[in-house]
Structures are given as structure tokens and as C-alpha cells.
Assembly symmetry: C2
DNA sequence: AGCTTTGATGACCGATCGCTAAAAAATTTC
DNA sequence: GAAATTTTTTAGCGATCGGTCATCAAAGCT
């Protein structure tokens, strides 16, 4: 019923996923439309008819990444019956597992695919930065919920915790790209989580002096 | 004595520094030779006569970055009369201060300038990854020295500590690119250093279970 | 001075960039 | 069937990519 004219010969989400893979592996700038059409198995006009432009295709690819690989994060953070500490640890471990999965490119697409951009593509950089800031915010909210629910000490600084654990999360992507194994990433998570008790103690912020 | 022929009309290190700035800001792929020649104030043939190719220019720029911005790291780690804890904290703080310096691009050039590359430029990616792995190794060696000198508990896992603190260091670059202030970065360092005592306690590696 | 050597300049190379117009193919509607 | 509609294909658009050639300019050497 939908289609008058010639039906599309490819599945939109399938080729989008292939584009996502390409962007994930090489980043936005380094992936050419020729790379994309080759990976997606379609010709340029089909790509532009279906997705509009390289930039729009990228943004849809990031959205798909968030839906597929990033979903665990939101799900874990929304879960009931766990402490904030357990939730954040699980976020780190689940993401680390994705980063180290040999079936997909190492590291996080949102962290690695647009760290730098030529003039005219600043939008890409800002788009991903927004995505990352959203993660920081989600961690902060989870800590605040932990305080409200009583599993985190009342004086804990949610902002500070979110900044710290998101920094570790972002760093894991770089380590993964540099060849770190899943065990190594998990070891880093171990270390980061070992800091939890000290960080949540009320008034845990030490003076700036070394 | 040196020069027969026409003398060079520009200072090689000055224009190299300008190229470094450009690469630092935009990364390898997103910086075109046209951008470079414009920033350096020279024409393409002069660039190629002086530096060989874009890739060689980039590697020299990274070396200059290491000499100027990265020197603090090596110096701090080599210093005598400090504990490993103090040295690593200073590495994090000094680097964070550079990342947040409004006079230079945010974050670390080595972390951000080549996170992804098109085929044919994998050398760039590997070059920077090697540089980062060198940092991890330097941190590990400093912890080992701390164990030998007695300021770190004998059972401490140097590899594990180096992996953790380098992950934080790499993550700081991403946070900085996302607009984090110097105070925010320092707060993350506070958090990371708060974990030190727990991490250096002998046999501090907990079982993998959450 | 003239010759040699080296660097700077303007013009431009083939290749690739993101993207698109025009025509052929595959469908639904009439 | 024919007309209308949408997609696919072929071919190629102007712009820019990294890099270079031929020429001119500025210095030392004799």
C-alpha cells in the first residue's frame, strides 16, 4: 500500500547498520561516501535519496549506535533494585565488554568517531559532545537517585562522581583503540570502583594541595 | 658557513610550531595542506622541501608537542625526592592544566589528533598509539620505582595502577574537548588520587564479581 | 662580474572529495 | 495495456585533496 513507484531494493536499517560500522571504525571525516556506498552495497544517489547527506546519515548512525550498543547504559541506570554503585559499575563493565568485543570496532563510536573536525563539520563534533555530556548527566542523576534512596551517603557529590566515572569511561575507549584486552579494561574498572567508598564519604573532597 | 644558495626565509621551528597548533586543534586528517600552508605562512613547495610530506610534518609536530607540552611528564616522573603517588598526581595535574589552558587547543594532541584514520594513514594512528603506550609504560616504571624505593607497598600492581591512571589521563582529554573547566578536570584528578591508597594496598585486586 | 646552489613563487598535476542530473528499470494506478 | 511514480544506474559535476614542475630570486664562490 505504501509504495507507488519502484520499491526500494535494500533494507534501510540494514545498510544504515553497515554505515554505522564504517563510521565506528574510521570516524566521520575519514569515511568517504565511496567507502559508505561500497559498504552499504548501494550507489550514491540511493544513499542521498534515503538519508539526505553524509552528515544526516552519520547522525542516524549515531542514533542507531545509541539504540543498539548504548541501550545497555540507559537500561542499567534505570533499573530498580540496585545501588548506584552497582549500576555505575555495570555501566562501565558492559561498555568495556562492547569496546573489547572483537566482533565490533574497538572503543566507543561516540567517543572516537568525531574527536576532531574540519571547519564546516563542527556540527558533528558538537553532536557527539552533546551525546557524551548526556552520559555524564545520566551518571549524575543515578548518583542523586542513590542519595535519595539511601544507598549513597547524603553528602556525596554527584557531579564529582559523574565527572570521574565518565572520564574513566571515555578513557577506556582510547585504551581499547590502543589494543587493550577485555581483561585490562576490566582491571581499570576494578580500580575505578575501588575508589567508590572514599569518594562517597561525605565531605570527601580533599583540599587542592598535593 | 652553512648556507650556499638562498637562505630560508622562515624559521623552521616557528612554522613547525604553527603546524603543531593546527594538527592539535583539528587532528591529522581534518587538517589540509592548504590549512597548513596558510597557518605556517609558506607555500606548498616550501613545506615539502622543509618537511617532506604531510605525514612527516605531523610526526615532527608530535615530537615538538612532546618536547614542549609533554616534557613536564617525563621531568616529573624522573624527579628525585618525591613519592610515586606525588609524581603521578603531578603528571595528571600538569597535563590537565595544559588541556584546560585557553591559550592552546583543549585536550592532548596525542590523544585527540589521530583517533581514527582512513586506509593509508594507519601509520599515523599507530604512531600516536605508540606514544600513548609509552606514557602507560612510564607510569608503570614510576610505580615500580616507588616500590623499590619503599614509598609504595611491596605488593602493589604497577601495571594495574599504570592502566588506571593513564585511562584517567586519556579521559581528561575528552572531557576537556567537551568543554570541561580546569576546576572540573582537577576535581577528576582529586577523585582518581583518592583511590591511590586502596589500589596500592598489597593484594588489592578484588575478585571479578560485582 | 658570472656561475653555482638553494629557496620561493605561480601554476597546476591526477585523484578523490561530497554530491547530483539524466536516463533506464520496476512498481502501482487507471 | 498505458500513464504515473519512485528507485536504480551511469556518468560526471565543481571543489578540494596531497603533492610537484618550471621558473624566478637570493645568496656564496671564483
Amino acid at each position: 500500500m505504501a509504495g507507488r513507484g519502484r520499491p526500494r531494493s535494500f533494507d534501510r536499517e540494514t545498510v544504515l547498520r553497515q554505515a554505522m560500522r564504517m563510521f565506528w571504525e574510521r570516524g566521520y571525516e575519514a569515511t568517504s561516501t565511496a567507502d559508505l556506498t561500497a559498504a552499504m552495497g548501494i550507489k550514491p544517489p540511493s544513499l542521498y535519496a534515503a538519508f539526505g547527506s553524509k552528515e544526516e546519515l552519520f547522525k542516524e548512525a549515531v542514533a542507531l549506535y545509541g539504540k543498539e550498543e548504548g541501550a545497555v547504559t540507559d537500561r542499567v541506570l534505570a533499573e530498580e533494585g540496585t545501588t548506584a554503585c552497582q549500576a555505575i559499575e555495570r555501566v562501565l563493565r558492559d561498555n568495556a565488554a562492547v569496546y573489547a568485543d572483537p566482533a565490533t570496532p574497538p572503543g566507543c563510536m561516540v567517543v572516537l568517531a568525531g574527536t576532531n573536525c574540519a571547519p564546516g563539520n563542527e556540527g558533528i563534533q558538537e553532536f557527539l559532545a552533546d551525546d557524551r555530556r548526556h552520559v555524564v548527566g545520566a551518571l549524575r542523576e543515578r548518583v542523586e537517585r542513590g542519595v535519595a534512596e539511601g544507598d549513597v551517603a547524603p553528602g556525596a557529590d554527584a557531579e564529582r562522581l559523574a565527572d570521574f566515572y565518565s572520564t574513566v569511561l571515555f578513557g577506556l575507549s582510547v585504551q581499547s583503540r590502543d589494543g587493550a584486552s577485555c581483561d585490562e579494561l576490566m582491571g581499570v574498572v576494578d580500580s575505578a570502583m575501588a575508589a567508590w567508598d572514599g569518594l562517597t564519604r561525605a565531605g570527601a573532597r580533599p583540599p587542592r594541595a598535593s
